[in-house]
């Protein structure tokens, strides 16, 4: 390698890597940055690792820690996954959950956009109080709400139908998304809307052509939140759905894969793992928007 290429490489590296400060030693960086980060990574990823290895473990390895290393799989098997996919309604549960989560998310985000825009930008009398009330509604725990909601579900004849969940999930999702979007709309300069107002746009045109395009990161993070919460929701799904084939994944794997007092750990873990894959995929696609909405501010 010639000197020139070494220099080029060094310059190239300089662009990506922040300059190494003279007061900063390798030991110091190891202790202040790398060790804490490694601990975080281990703590965060261990449950997934456990889930993954358990779902491919044969039963005899799972129950005998003396003979087999609990952190490793001696002879991996696909039996658990096969059983999950072909002996249960798992694919159907997955589709149901996906449909319910998607519908509830769109419903909630749509309602929240209108609510948040009205509260933050139309500034009607009492807007602030409404905003606060919506936030307080988010704090009411579902364990209190599910009994009155169940009564309503029965009266509307929605029991044991996906609509029961699609319509009840927004009770928690709308307040949260509204609150999140209020914060995001606030970060969009009001001057832009005033300018559009003078340019001749109506409120709805402003919302559609100015505010929403700028709020895409906010919409995406609201959407991800709503989707994840609907996906993982347990108590409503447990209370309002009865038929096996209409259950959502979290409820179904618990009620259908725990037979009596026998936990079918392999299939349970396989079900959880497969169930978390769609959420993980969505996250990985939108992670940049998600972070930018958390750190806020529209860049001009």
């Amino acid at each position: 390698m010639t000197n020139a290429t070494v220099e080029d490489a060094a310059q190239g590296a300089n662009i990506d890597v922040p300059e190494h400060m003279a007061w900063d030693s390798r030991a110091r960086r190891t202790i202040t940055i790398y060790i804490p980060l490694s601990i975080f990574i281990v703590v965060l990823l261990f449950p997934f690792y456990w889930m993954a290895i358990t779902s491919v473990k044969p039963d005899y390895e799972m129950y005998d820690y003396k003979k087999y290393n609990p952190f490793w799989v001696g002879s991996p098997t696909l039996d658990n996954i096969k059983k999950l996919l072909f002996d249960t309604d798992y694919p159907q549960w997955l589709i149901t959950t996906m449909g319910i989560a998607t519908a509830a998310t769109f419903l909630s985000v749509f309602a929240s956009v209108l609510a948040a825009y009205a509260i933050e930008r139309l500034r009607f009398k009492g807007a602030q109080h409404v905003g606060l009330a919506i936030y307080l509604a988010y704090l009411v725990p579902p364990t209190i709400l599910f009994i009155p909601l169940a009564t309503m579900i029965f009266q509307f004849g929605l029991f044991d139908s996906p609509l029961a969940l699609i319509l009840t999930y927004p009770t928690t999702l709308v307040p949260f998304c509204t609150w999140l979007l209020i914060g995001y709309f606030k970060s969009i300069p009001y001057e832009l809307e005033e300018c559009a107002l003078i340019d001749g746009a109506s409120r709805l045109q402003i919302l559609r052509r100015i505010t929403l395009p700028l709020a895409v990161p906010g919409l995406i993070s609201a959407g991800i939140f709503a989707f994840t919460l609907s996906w993982n929701e347990f108590i409503y799904a447990l209370a309002f759905i009865q038929s096996t084939e209409k259950k959502t994944v979290p409820v179904a794997i618990l009620t259908e894969l725990v037979t009596g007092d026998v936990f079918q750990w392999g299939s349970l873990m396989a079900g959880s793992l497969l169930g978390s894959v769609p959420v993980a995929i969505i996250y990985s696609f939108f992670v940049e928007y998600y972070v930018s909405s958390m750190t806020g501010a529209v860049k001009e």
Binding site: A201, L214, E300
Partner: protein, 352 residues
């Protein structure tokens, strides 16, 4: 194009009144600048013309139409904001075309109008760029282009140059003035910078604490300020004020220095008064009054002298190169024709 009438306009936020009955007549095609210190209500007045603030009482008319209850988009105005308010998710072309696209204009018409505005402002190479890819001056131009495209009756500018660096500000000042001469559209422009006001305006409205202090052509305000506020606000460095009283056909400063009165202010004996003299109206004179120098600021074209004169700190601006050093005394004279006298109690101008 249209004239704008502002008649006895008041603005209240809750119980605080921040505009106390403002009257301004703006003629068709005129370039009017509202100038004043922060918080004087000039931006609020502009926003009331734009329809972004309610009018608490009084009337604003554009052309023959009272616009108090007319929505901004019906007022046929265009506004340039301090932070430009460019739509960050649209290209320069789309930014300029936005208002036209709302009116269902044909694509050919939009292209033609945007093209013309881009031509005028030299924006053709940037039409496909996003605002974040432009420099401050270019963004400023896009904001103006967006206004031009609409071909409105009135242009409104809200401190458009305050985010630019000093050099660019001077260049844009000339550009805006040239644009106005070319388009001849009635323009209302808000700034806190009196130099901007002096250099650009056909007519200046000086505002202070919710009142109009004086309305007039730039040089009229400079030569004949109505009161102490206008005298102190217009001109840089600011006018020097010496307190004292009028006695025996002359002005006596508090420390006893006698200064010559302008003829129009004579015959007001015994009245407490403030004597105003602009920095450039001091003359070096061997037989003049003493001024003890505290700081010298040579700028090349002139030398500014901060000095102690007639019991007051003053600033003088001299074309001559000054050899004296701080602490030394120079002798200066005052031309009575260039001096101003104001009432000590009310601050109003005495004499014509």
């Amino acid at each position: 194009m249209a004239n704008v009438s502002i008649r006895n306009v008041r603005k209240r936020f809750g119980s605080t009144e921040i505009l106390h009955g403002v009257d301004v007549e703006i003629d068709d095609g005129e370039f009017v600048i509202l100038v004043g210190p922060s918080g004087c209500g000039k931006s609020t007045l502009l926003r009331m013309i734009a329809g972004l603030e309610n009018i608490s009482s009084g009337e604003i008319a554009i052309g023959d139409r009272v616009v108090n209850n007319i929505a901004p988009k019906e007022r046929d105005i265009a506004m340039v904001f301090q932070n430009y308010a460019l739509y960050p998710h649209m290209t320069v072309r789309d930014n300029m075309a936005f208002s036209l696209s709302l009116t269902n204009a044909s694509k050919a018409e939009i292209d033609e109008k945007v093209g013309r505005a881009a031509q005028i402002l030299g924006l053709n190479p940037y039409l496909a760029r996003y605002p974040r890819q432009l420099s401050g001056g270019q963004r400023q131009r896009v904001a103006m282009g967006r206004a031009i495209v609409r071909d409105p009756q009135v242009f409104l500018f809200d401190e458009p140059l305050s985010n630019l660096d000093a050099k660019l500000r001077v260049a844009m000042r000339a550009e805006i003035k040239e644009l106005h001469q070319r388009l001849q559209t009635t323009t209302v422009y808000v700034t806190h910078d009196q130099i901007e006001a002096m250099t650009m305006a056909d007519k200046i409205v000086v505002m202070n604490a919710g009142n109009v202090e004086q309305i007039g052509a730039p040089l009229d305000l400079y030569d004949k300020p109505n009161n102490l506020f206008v005298a102190g606000f217009i001109g840089s460095p600011a006018m020097n004020f010496v307190k004292g009283k009028v006695a025996d056909g002359a002005f006596t400063a508090e420390d006893g220095t006698i200064l010559p009165l302008p003829p129009s202010a004579a015959g007001q004996d015994g009245r407490p008064a403030v004597y105003g003299i602009r920095p450039e109206h001091f003359r070096l004179a061997g037989d003049g009054l003493p001024a003890r120098i505290t700081v010298l600021e040579p700028t090349g074209s002139e030398t500014q002298v901060m000095a102690h004169f007639a019991g007051t700190p003053i600033i003088g601006a001299f074309r001559e190169r000054i050899a004296a050093k701080p602490g030394e005394t120079i002798r200066v004279s005052v031309d009575p024709m260039a001096a101003h006298v104001f009432d000590g109690a009310t601050g109003q101008r005495i004499g014509a």
